[in-house]
């Protein structure tokens, strides 16, 4: 960092005042709901408390101990992590590959690919999931008709069902990755690439040693976004597996929270799940940023 800025920082704590407007917006909009969520999670608060005039009592950590002692919670947590991890990897792979393809494609095919991707992006999760569910219907779906497998239930086994729902999640979320990375690649000066070429770097070496490091800040954002989105998937699972799959085999945390807590008006248990989800996401993000800083990346 150049000297003058350091001097300025020592004299006046200007950055604090610069942060204040953002804090004024973020504290009420983020802090207050989080505070309410945290408070709710240590109460015993259901519909009788919300509307029946029954006083809310302090439950301490009972909601948390109930959750952490429930084997189903751990199963759901584990499969949520695996599912979200798979979705993130697939989204990045598909989005990244197509971004590279976009830079190589001709004008017309690029336009076509862009429109197709934007269509998938623009489709509301609800609509997209419902359409795919119709296509995959056991008795009258187009997919079964074409394959001649009428009567085959695509959602019958746990992991095939997760793969299919995951594909729809990726279908919804790869365009964001693709367009962000495409913009990133386009922003790399041609001179840098030419220099690499002149130095005799192969395409692979250019990608690994020039493109990737330059795209890194974008990749960080894309990864964090994808982790957060995919960890919180609700609509696709809820719609395509009709509320969590056969015998609840395809539950992910968000759907589990809805089913266990909000649908049955146990608001404090739902709040406890929400707090745990937030903590897990913060931890994952923090670990990721820490790993980046270790490897020498400024953020």
């Amino acid at each position: 960092m150049p000297g003058p800025i350091v001097l300025l920082r020592r004299r006046v704590p200007a950055p604090v005042w610069l942060l204040l407007p953002a804090a004024l917006v973020l504290v009420p909009l983020f802090g207050y709901p989080m505070y309410q969520l945290g408070l709710l999670s240590v109460l015993d608060f259901g519909q009788p408390q919300a509307s029946g005039g029954v006083p809310a009592t302090l439950a301490g950590l009972a909601n948390y101990t109930q959750l952490l002692g429930d084997r189903q919670f751990w199963d759901v947590l584990l499969q949520t992590l695996v599912f979200a991890g798979g979705c993130v990897l697939a989204t990045l792979a598909v989005g990244g590959a197509l971004a590279v393809l976009l830079t190589r494609a001709g004008r017309r095919s690029r336009l076509f690919l862009m429109f197709a991707a934007l269509g998938a992006w623009a489709a509301p999760a609800m609509t997209g999931s419902t359409v795919w569910m119709f296509l995959l219907d056991t008795n009258s779906g187009l997919v079964n008709e074409i394959l001649g497998t009428t009567g085959h239930n695509w959602m019958y086994d746990k992991w095939p069902a997760f793969v299919i729902v995951g594909a729809v999640v990726v279908w919804h979320s790869f365009p964001f990755v693709m367009i962000t990375l495409y913009a990133g690649i386009q922003a790399i000066p041609v001179s840098v690439l030419e220099a690499a070429k002149l130095d005799g770097a192969s395409a692979f070496a250019t990608a690994r040693l020039v493109l990737l490091p330059m795209l890194r800040p974008l990749l960080v954002i894309v990864v964090i976004q994808s982790v957060i989105w995919d960890f919180k998937v609700f609509t696709q699972i809820y719609v395509m597996t009709t509320g969590g799959g056969i015998a609840g085999q395809n539950l992910v945390l968000n759907v589990y929270a809805y089913q266990q807590a909000f649908a049955s008006s146990d608001y404090s248990l739902g709040a406890a799940i929400g707090v745990l989800m937030t903590l897990i996401l913060l931890a994952v993000t923090a670990l990721y940023i820490r790993a980046l800083r270790r490897s020498g990346e400024e953020l």
């Binding site: 920082r9 020592r10 704590p13 950055p15 604090v16 942060l19 504290v27 009420p28 802090g31 207050y32 505070y35 309410q36 408070l39 709710l40 109460l43 608060f45 259901g46 519909q47 009788p48 408390q49 919300a50 509307s51 029946g52 005039g53 029954v54 809310a56 056991t138 008795n139 009567g151 085959h152 239930n153 959602m155 019958y156 009709t242 509320g243 969590g244 056969i246 015998a247 609840g248 085999q249 089913q259 266990q260 649908a263 049955s264 008006s265 146990d266 608001y267």
Partner: protein, 438 residues
Amino acid sequence: MKLSRSVSRPLRRAALVALSGIVLAACAPGTASTTGTADKGSGTLKVWLYDEANRAPKEKVVAAAVADFKAAHPGSDVQVGYIPTDAGPRAEKMKGAFNDPASAPDVVEFGNTDLFGYVAAGGLADLTADLSGWAEGKDLPQDLRDTATVDGKAYGLPWWIAVRSLYYRTDVFTELGLTPPTSYDGLLDAAKKVRAGKPDLLGIAVGGKYTFGALPFVWANGGDLAAQQNGVYAATVNAAGAQAGVKAYTDLFADGICPAQRCADLTGGKTVEAFASGTAGMAILPNSSRSAVDAGAVKGKYAVVPLPGVAAGSIAPAFSGGNDLGIMKSSQHRSLAVDFLTTLGGKKHQLALFDAMGTLPTLASARAEVSARDPWLKPFTDTIAAGTKFVPKHPGWAKIDAQAVVPTMLQKVITGKADVGAATAEAATAMNAALGAK
């Protein structure tokens, strides 16, 4: 990160104090103000009814009741709204009404299993005095009255009932030389023969998510979901009788009857579709599905018999489903609301509702009248006469329902993820948790 390190200590402290001030000022989670019931003599009465699949005929019946009510109460108006019938959306709607009395209706229709949760939520007004003072109320059988009673207080007027019986395809049965089953073994046998003779058809359409299709088998085997002792409910779904019932129902999900691949995730509604579209030889459907079935491909090609029990000639106890009318505690027009409730729930309009929708009247004389008029109803009235059963009358039922405890139990057995003993034991644990706590 680096920026914050440069902030001077006192300033940081000041910011923290300011922050915690904001946080502390915020109080506990919002609770609805408990507005008491008021009794304004005139005004607009708000009514919420279920938005059934065929709403037009229902609207006609309601319009007639509104006209009668307005004639008796000049200067009052009635505003009818229709709310979704699906469990999730309708629960959201009702919770919204409980939490915000200002926008809540005066009179509501609700499924009779929802009543206990609504009462615990403090949402419904006590109608004991109003109903006992109502002349037509004497006509309401005690067992139906009980389904809307909590701790000796009535919170709803049973408006119509629906029980499930066995629909079967007369054309298929004639072609294959089968007779309608009169015992569980007969049912199993007929279902196998239908699918063997007509591989395109399901022997019987059953669903892993069809709780009220499965319960008659549990009850027929002498089991139940839960039993009440000294006012406390405890799950009995893992007792021998219930286990036998669960086995009897899940045995129908065999490749030779209703293959698990196709039937494990069917809901009750999906079995109606399967039967109506002509892809099933039999199905366990309520009287209120008549219009849906008649609108399908099998119109005129089916008949109904009571769902057989275990012993030959016996009838499996049916779930006494149906909807109630109630009054919200927050209503500001209590007497008017009671008058409208007894008008719409009275004999005249119950009969009209039957003509429009095929829903069985709750008032005994009205039910006798329609049964005499329409022989189609006989299997259903026979089923009612043989005795019906109900889910635990406890606010915890809403939770058991929302958490899909029974479907999960059935699906685990159907897909072979657990045997009957393990699946019912797990369900019993979940039920006890819901029935013990609130």
